[in-house]
């Protein structure tokens, strides 16, 4: 289903339908994450991928056109790059341990330690939150700073800040 949706996103020319299909794509990958018991990731994917980004793409559509321009360039080189990358990735998965295998590196390195220690060190039932906010607090601080920087960047590029100044001037003139 993921593959079918991805092909639909590439083939359809109506950008409105493409936005909807990318939302569906995100929702399907969220379901995949749920199937792998990664509920926190699935939650984020559903909220950000299927929710916010679809809305943002739709508001962007309101600023541009609704239909994609047909590309004039030959698709041979992009197809070649896609197939080589895909083949490399599939070749890489050959060495991966089986799904749910007990001696996979993910189960043997730090995660059993976190699972054992977090209950009495942090006392928080959700281990993901314990790792995210406590053991890896610096990283999350960095992530928050990244989100903040991204927001500032968008405001500077699109000019949300300039409009705010005008709004404030309008409010001041209204107040006085």
């Amino acid at each position: 289903m993921l593959v079918v949706t991805a092909i639909a996103v590439v083939r359809i020319r109506s950008l409105f339908a493409v936005a909807m299909f990318s939302g569906i794509f995100s929702l399907l990958s969220a379901l995949l994450f749920v199937a792998m018991d990664a509920v926190d990731v699935a939650f984020t994917e559903a909220a950000v991928g299927a929710g916010i980004s679809t809305v943002l793409v739709l508001t962007t559509l309101a600023l541009t056109t609704r239909h994609e321009k047909p590309s004039k360039r030959s698709p041979v080189i992009p197809l070649f790059v896609v197939f080589v990358t895909g083949a490399t990735l599939i070749y890489g998965t050959m060495d991966m341990p089986n799904f749910g295998s007990a001696d996979a590196p993910a189960q043997t390195h730090v995660s059993p330690e976190y699972l054992e220690r977090s209950v009495h060190e942090i006392g928080v039932p959700n281990v993901v939150t314990a790792i995210l906010a406590s053991y890896r607090g610096y990283d999350t601080l960095g992530e928050t700073a990244v989100v903040f920087t991204a927001g500032i960047g968008v405001l500077l590029l699109i000019g949300g800040l300039r409009r705010r100044r005008e709004d404030e001037e309008a409010e001041e003139s209204r107040d006085s």
Partner: protein, 146 residues
């Protein structure tokens, strides 16, 4: 979207529920899936859906742009401030045991709540600010070109 009666009524009913759910995800993140990032996004969605249905001016009366821009920085300040509080209490940066020295595990709870709140505030601010920035631009195409 003045003429979409069903959309407007359903949105009015949903916005409150969405905000409530965002707070649940925010403050229940220790016990169930979720946390600041997800809660911030859900909170922002409540304002964005209101803006999509009722128009940008309506939502900016509820949640003015200058408050959103302050929230961007406030979240990072809450997060980093939590770190500095623990630093000044004589513990290392972001060591939440500092808040209740007698019972470090409780301190972890408070610390996680505080930093998740910071994350949530920043994410809400960024998402709503990005939406305002996009939706606030005047469409460059006239209606006939649609």
């Amino acid at each position: 979207m003045r003429h979409h009666l069903i959309l407007r009524v359903v949105t009015k009913m949903l916005v409150g529920t969405i905000i409530l759910f965002a707070f649940y995800v925010q403050f229940h993140g220790d016990f169930s899936p979720g946390g600041g990032f997800q809660a911030g996004v859900i909170m922002a969605v409540a304002f964005i859906i209101y803006g999509v249905v009722f128009g940008l001016d309506e939502v900016q009366q509820v949640f003015p742009a200058w408050i959103v821009h302050k929230l961007l920085a406030l979240g990072v300040l809450i997060y980093a401030g939590t770190g500095f509080v623990s630093l000044f209490l004589g513990y290392s940066f972001l060591d939440y045991g500092a808040f209740t020295p007698a019972h470090p595990v409780h301190g972890q709870h408070y610390g996680i709540l505080a930093v998740e709140l910071g994350v949530g505030v920043t994410v809400t601010g960024v998402m709503v600010a990005v939406y305002y920035a996009f939706a606030g631009r005047t469409p460059q195409l006239s209606d006939e070109e649609w």
